[in-house]
């Protein structure tokens, strides 16, 4: 949806000015000088089995710059815009070359306070900084921003480092969405910490949802529905991929105290967000409180990551490989990306998460998909450590054109799961129940920090069928558990033909909130 949106824009003269540095109308005081990265700075890309299918291309950064990439956006012509924790916005030229050679970084704006979201529309750039969303323009066409308008500042900050606003790109209607991290990730000491705001094109802030703890990104699926990542902690037994709808409650009641204030801004908000019981389970509380949306996907803690962050929906119609319209969630701590597939059952989203790509250079925060289907991935590990050892990084992720042997999709059925693969499976292995290992567990939904894995069960695979083309495997399962994650190992499967190749990522986690009626 996002790229569709961009394509639908008329090519904006201002942004092309930015990109191509046309003759300025007035003489700039200091013309921005692009900073070239030296070829010598080029780094060896990471290797591994995933590398053959999805290649990470580290973009060399000018050594004199500290580019702790915390937000990313692409301009209508594809040019990359990056926002940093030090408050700068850079335009990057030559970011798409492969092999990468001398990308150019031009500082377009500076002096902002930790940019946690960048979006562009109608020739303006919108940057979420600690205290506000700022609309930046280059009215004098000098090649850098000269107008920093306060677009929306209806939330509070008190100087706490956790009080970040995580901002989406624009939706189709020109709205922005902001998730406001709690104070210290535990309290709500400044107005609206723990809330989710919609900002309309005319700059009005609408309290949209409540229940945020510590967000990592706000994004959309291919239908434009809104999702965000929320980190493990109080009321989050694991990192969660959550859906947000107007008036909904996403699980952490700390911000509920601002409800009366929220009603003043949005009288149509609906009933007061609930105060769930603790300890409990998501599905038990969701049954009590209609506005509580259980997270469509829970990301098992440590198994998949520890700090869920950037979101991408593949809108490339195949340019990024076989995963069109699937969702991807990054992890800042593990420097990796998971792939998610959602399905709507009884009106609620649920679905699977499977590892997708690891080995990024730093702790991933933002990700964006460009028009050509490739992604840009930004990272920083200042203050929060990461598996990727670089203090900060900018990388491009491209599909090599080769399709991995991989579980493509997992759908719940009345009596089990239907798995779809990217390539046919070997029937002998697929029909052998020893090729699978299925167990379930869930997390306690509670007011205290995190949760162990609880309610463990081991359902039985009663029957297996394989479709004639070998692409689908139906597992008939006895003992599906509502409210639990179904952890399915596929180590025994082999690719048809060679009988040797294993599934690239042989473990998948399906979060089950509703059963399919028979």
């Amino acid at each position: 949806m996002f790229n569709h949106m961009i394509r639908s824009f008329a090519i904006c003269t201002l942004l092309s000015t930015l990109a191509r540095a046309e003759e300025p109308k007035t003489k700039p005081a200091t013309a921005p000088t692009p900073i070239e990265s030296k070829r010598a700075e080029k780094e060896t890309p990471p290797t591994g089995p995933e590398e053959a299918y999805y290649k990470i291309i580290p973009i060399p950064l000018p050594p004199e710059l500290v580019l702790e990439v915390s937000s990313l956006e692409t301009l209508p012509d594809g040019q990359l815009l990056i926002g940093t924790r030090r408050g700068d916005i850079y335009l990057v030229d030559n970011a798409y070359a492969d092999p990468i050679d001398k990308p150019k970084f031009t500082r377009w704006a500076t002096g902002l306070h930790e940019i946690m979201g960048l979006a562009q529309r109608d020739g303006s750039v919108y940057a979420a900084q600690r205290g506000e969303i700022t609309r930046l323009k280059d009215t004098a066409h000098t090649g850098h921003a000269d107008t920093y308008e306060t677009f929306y500042d209806g939330w509070g900050i008190k100087g706490d480092y956790h009080e970040y606003p995580l901002m989406s790109h624009f939706d189709k209607g020109g709205n922005l969405y902001v998730a406001l991290c709690l104070t210290g990730s535990v309290g709500s000491e400044s107005p609206f910490r723990g809330w989710f705001f919609k900002i309309t094109p005319d700059g009005k802030g609408i309290p949209f949802a409540c229940g945020v703890r510590s967000p990592g990104a706000v994004g959309f699926n291919h239908l434009g529905e809104i999702f965000y990542t929320d980190n493990q902690g109080f009321w989050n037994g694991a990192d969660n991929f959550k859906q947000v709808t107007e008036g909904s409650f996403t699980g952490n009641p700390t911000g509920n105290k601002w409800y009366d204030e929220a009603l003043k801004l949005n009288p149509a908000f609906g009933p007061k967000p609930p105060e769930p019981a603790s300890p409990s389970r998501w599905h038990i509380e969701a049954a009590k409180f209609p506005t509580l949306i259980p997270p469509p996907v829970m990301l098992p803690y440590k198994k998949m990551g520890q700090s869920a962050s950037g979101i991408v929906c593949d809108m490339s119609d195949g340019k990024f490989g076989p995963f069109n319209h699937q969702l991807f969630v990054a992890d800042q701590s593990h420097s990796n990306v998971a792939r998610l597939g959602l399905e709507k059952i009884k009106g609620k989203y649920q679905g699977f998460a499977i590892p997708f790509r690891r080995g990024f250079g730093s702790g991933i925060v933002p990700m964006v998909q460009a028009k050509d289907g490739s992604w840009f991935v930004g990272g920083t590990n200042r203050g929060w450590g990461s598996t990727g050892t670089k203090p900060f990084a900018l990388e491009r992720l491209v599909w090599t054109g080769k399709t991995p042997f991989e579980m493509l999709d997992m759908k719940l059925q009345a009596d089990g799961f239907e798995l779809t693969f990217t390539q046919p499976v070997d029937r002998n292995f697929a029909l052998d129940s020893d090729s699978y290992d299925l167990s379930t567990f869930t997390y306690i939904y509670q007011s205290s920090y995190g949760s162990p894995e609880v309610d463990k069960t081991e359902p039985t695979i009663k029957d297996i069928t394989v479709s004639p083309n070998g692409l689908k495997v139906k597992l008939t399962v006895d003992g599906l558990v509502v409210g639990s994650i179904h952890e399915l190992h596929l180590d025994g499967l082999r690719k048809a033909g060679d009988g040797k190749t294993q599934v690239l990522h042989p473990v998948v986690y399906y979060t089950l909130w509703n059963r399919v009626d028979p």
């Binding site: 930790e114 009215t139 008190k158 706490d160 480092y161 210290g184 203050g383 929060w384």
Partner: protein, 942 residues
């Protein structure tokens, strides 16, 4: 004193001196290191060498020489507390055979010819007397380990001890080593540590200067010096400083650090940690509700009152000896913390701290301040989690003090002449001696003779010492005439043995056989410059007397951190004249050298010259603590406090001429430097620009190429810098504006107020650019002024209505008191115009620097555009206790700030004075719109 005691005491004395001599054991001549330096130099007359000995051997303590004499006795250790630091056994052995027990000591042997019984009796009395001085030693236990011996050895052999004393592997040095005696028998760990920390306290002569050791360093050296105490079997173990603390980690919903809250809880984790920190191993990274209890011992270096401060987020309680010293309980931020006092004896004390975290930020730090200790974070070296091997003096006999003997011996102490050198209260010397001028140098039974008569002090002088003293005595009649500055400087430097490390005018310097004992702390190759203390020839013409003072006495202005040997701190009392003497000696012959000059507004040129794009001084010189790019030359920020302007100019012109072989290059070859952009490279303007820049000292803007640790100082060099950050005293939505003109300010986008303005350095962004970015920082720079509290504009519909102002405690949440922030635009030079709306009035505020350099003026330009309502709007020009109108439109605020006000359409602005909070006066302007527009300009200078 009872007469009977007096009689016995006198009888004792008679016996001593009446008995026949028995022994003539081999002895070493007294070691006066400065004497050897003078002698070896070949540049000092023998009489002057002898004159030194007359003072250093305390000859003139007995042989008076008139009040005008230039020869003063060195003096001897203060024995007031001798009993608390010296064991009775050592005293007995030492007094019996001083020259055998401590060869080279300058203490004469008084009993060299006494009969054994008489001597034993006298020594016994003296031992009781001396032990009664603060003694006897009680609980003489410290603890050490072999590791600490090694640490101490390393320190002893590097910080400078071995410039005068022998290294562990003694050799036959050309300059003999000052003897230490058998310390393991003599003293305790605590006493020796205390001595090393403050040697002037016990030895006011100042010959043993303070090496500026930390308590932990002093202790390690003491353990090394007493290492034989570790060689004997000892069953006891004692707390061992430097081993950290024990901790126990709990997870529970704490709201108090009271120790009972921890009672009955089971720790999730226990272990050891170096100091009080929340970063304990095994704590869950994201845990938000937990408690930690730390236990162990603290080692107190000296008796006295100690102040402990605890800063913690959230609460913490510190106890020592089971008494609460600091209670900083409750849920709160780090600052300001709390403190408490406790009087402690030197030695080990149990310490406990309980801490809890109740969400939000978490942090803990403990500070202390005590006798001789400035406030500092509690050093890890004084904390003990576990024990080490007990150390007690060897041959530590059980001793019962006989107060009668001690009392009686007091008189003997005076009559023997001990009191002539060892000053004790109420114990004047009662031993008569001839005036120096009346001495018969040829008397074979005098001090200089070969058969020193029983009862007379025997120094075991060497023959050359005798020759020198005889030569000096020939001048005794002229000792009332003061020496000239050069000679006096030589004499004082010899007495203090400066020559052990420094050469000056061909005297002294590290002798070749001790050369290898001088080490460098870094691997950068500076050659001998990186190891050996500097040459002092001409130092009086280089360093300002004030700088010499601080270097000699206050452990300040040192610029050679790479020398392992530390410059000690000397006794001010003994050496106070040296700075002026050196100045007098060295500046006398130098004339006609113009000084480097301070040129107004040349700071920036100097800054350019110093940086990497200029002459590149920063390649070898750091500044303000920021390390140089390459080798570590002296820090530029203290140059102005150290050197004389005329020397600086000579130095720049031709460094090699002043210090042959220096690494400082000559930049102005044939009068021109390679940096032509300032004065075409000419010497004088560039040297003056450098000097002007250096005069700013710690206020200097950091040169290009340098970076401070944990600092992201932003230097607005060519363009205006606009930056959002958390700024102390302003708020979380601060917008800083830094200008190349070296005047800066900060706007608060929460309250629509220009909050502060200042000159000089701009801002350190590390608070938001490092770590998790949640720290506020105050502006850098100087002359920071607070602009009026509250917003710039307000609608006041009555005279009584106060200017809107939030409670300072609520400042972080205060919003929109002066309108709604709309952002800012940048003009083509990057100056921001802030925009905010108050009701339906749009206000544009453009603040500009006027003038340049360090006294620039802040010019505030306001343009107001009204909507429908223009009533009752006021502008707050200034506030203060005293507002004096100097001229129409010109005010002086509190005698400091000058305000110029210009209102469009008014030749002299209409203003009012209103009452502010707490007696403050507010200078306000009712805003009058003309065609819905109003323009106001204010200039603020300070």
């Amino acid at each position: 004193m009872p007469p009977a005691f007096a009689r016995r005491s006198i009888a004792c004395l008679i016996a001593l001196f009446a008995s026949s001599p028995t022994l003539a054991a081999p002895a070493t001549a007294p070691i006066v290191p400065g004497y050897h330096a003078l002698k070896n130099s070949g540049k000092v007359a023998i009489a002057a060498q002898g004159e030194l000995l007359l003072g250093e051997l305390n000859c003139v303590a007995c042989h008076a020489n008139g009040p005008q004499s230039r020869v003063n006795p060195k003096g001897a250790p203060d024995l007031t507390e001798a009993g608390s630091r010296i064991t009775p056994q050592y005293l007995r052995d030492y007094l019996s055979q001083p020259h055998q027990l401590k060869p080279g000591t300058t203490m004469p042997d008084l009993f060299h010819a006494s009969a054994p019984e008489a001597k034993a009796g006298a020594v016994d009395f003296l031992v009781h007397f001396l032990v009664s001085q603060g003694g006897p030693i009680t609980d003489p236990v410290g603890a050490g380990t072999k590791d600490l011996v090694d640490q101490g050895r390393k320190l002893y052999e590097t910080v400078g001890c071995v410039a005068c004393h022998a290294p562990e592997k003694d050799r036959d040095f050309k300059t003999p080593s000052v003897p230490l005696g058998n310390l393991a028998e003599k003293s305790t760990l605590d006493a020796l540590t205390g001595f090393l920390l403050d040697p002037l306290h016990v030895r006011p002569s100042g010959r043993m200067p303070s090496s500026n050791l930390t308590p932990a360093e002093a202790k390690a050296i003491a353990i090394f010096l007493l290492r034989q105490q570790l060689d004997v079997p000892s069953p006891t173990s004692k707390p061992l400083p430097g081993t950290g603390l024990n901790f126990a980690y709990f997870e529970a919903p704490f709201t108090s650090a009271a120790s009972e809250k921890f009672a009955g809880l089971k720790p999730l984790k226990t272990g050891k940690v170096k100091t009080f920190t929340v970063e304990i191993p095994g704590r869950r990274k994201d845990a938000e509700h937990f408690g930690i209890r730390y236990t162990g011992w603290i080692w107190i270096p000296r008796n006295g009152k100690y102040t402990f401060a605890v800063e913690s987020d959230d609460g913490a309680i510190l106890s020592i000896d089971s008494k609460i010293v600091v209670s900083n309980d409750g849920t709160h931020p780090m600052k300001p913390g709390k403190s408490g006092d406790i009087t402690l004896k030197a030695g080990q004390h149990p310490i406990e701290l309980t801490y809890f975290q109740n969400g939000g930020r978490r942090s803990l730090e403990v500070f202390w301040r005590g006798p001789g200790l400035k406030r500092e974070p509690l050093p890890t070296e004084v904390l003990a989690a576990t024990g080490g091997k007990a150390m007690t003096p060897l041959k530590n006999e059980s001793f019962t003090l006989d107060p009668a003997k001690a009392e009686m011996c007091g008189q003997m102490f005076s009559m023997l002449g001990c009191a002539a050198c060892h000053a004790l209260p109420n114990r004047p010397s009662a031993r008569p001696a001839k005036n120096l001028t009346a001495l018969n140098v040829a008397n074979p039974e005098g001090c200089l003779g070969d058969h020193v008569l029983k009862g007379r002090p025997n120094y075991d002088l060497s023959s050359d010492q005798k020759v020198a003293i005889v030569a000096a005595l020939k001048n005794a009649a002229s000792f009332a005439t003061p020496l000239d500055a050069t000679q006096r400087a030589v004499h004082e430097m010899a007495a203090m043995n400066c020559y052990a490390c420094h050469q000056r005018d061909g005297i002294g310097g590290v002798p070749s056989d001790r050369n290898e004992l001088f080490k460098s702390t870094i691997t950068v190759d500076l050659g001998d410059d990186g190891r050996l203390p500097p040459l002092l020839t001409g130092v009086g013409a280089k360093l300002l007397p004030s700088a010499l003072n601080r270097i000699l006495f206050h452990n300040e202005l040192h610029v050679r951190p790479y020398l392992a040997t530390r410059m000690p701190s000397f006794s001010v009392e003994k050496l106070k004249d040296l700075p002026e003497l050196l100045a007098g000696a060295d500046t006398a012959g130098i004339t006609g050298n113009p000084p480097a000059a301070v040129v107004p507004h040349a700071e920036k040129q100097g800054w350019q010259l110093v940086g990497v794009k200029g002459l590149g001084c920063v390649n070898c010189h750091g500044a303000r603590g920021a390390k140089s790019i390459g080798v570590p030359g002296p820090d530029l920020a203290i140059v102005h406090e150290r050197v004389r302007p005329e020397w600086f100019r000579r130095w720049l012109a031709d460094p090699g001429k002043l210090v042959p072989g220096t690494r400082m290059p000559s930049f102005w070859n044939e009068g021109k430097s390679s940096y032509l952009e300032i004065a075409g490279g000419a010497f004088d303007p560039q040297a003056n620009a450098l000097w002007t820049y250096l005069q700013q000292g710690p206020e200097m803007i950091l040169p290009l190429g340098l970076r401070l640790d944990d600092s992201d100082e932003i230097v607005p060099t060519d363009e205006v810098v606009v930056l959002r950050a958390f700024v102390t005293g302003v708020g979380p939505r601060s917008i800083l504006v830094g200008n190349p003109e070296s005047i800066h300010w900060v706007f608060d986008a929460n309250t629509m107020r220009l909050a502060k303005a200042w000159h000089g350095k701009f801002f350190d962004a590390a608070g938001v650019w490092e770590s998790r970015g949640g720290r506020e920082r105050a502006p850098l720079g100087k002359d920071i002024i607070d602009l009026p509290p509250g917003p710039s504009f307000a609608v006041l519909d009555s005279q009584a209505m106060p200017w809107p102002q939030a409670d300072p405690d609520a400042k972080k949440f205060e919003r929109n008191t002066g309108g709604i922030f709309k952002g800012y635009t940048l003009d083509n030079q990057g100056h921001p115009t802030f925009r905010y709306a108050l009701n339906d009035v749009m206000i544009q505020e453009t603040d500009l620097p006027k003038g340049s350099s360090d006294k620039a003026t802040l010019e505030r330009n306001f343009k107001l555009t009204a909507g429908s309502s223009t009533k009752d709007l006021f502008f707050l020009v200034a506030s203060g206790r005293k507002i004096d109108e100097k001229n129409p439109g010109v005010w002086l605020i509190d005698g400091k700030q000058t305000i110029h006000l210009f209102v469009d359409g008014q030749s002299s602005p209409i203003t009012e004075i209103r009452e502010g909070k707490d007696g403050e006066k507010l200078l306000v302007v009712p805003v009058k719109f003309i065609d819905r527009m109003a323009v106001i300009r204010v200039e603020v200078s300070w």
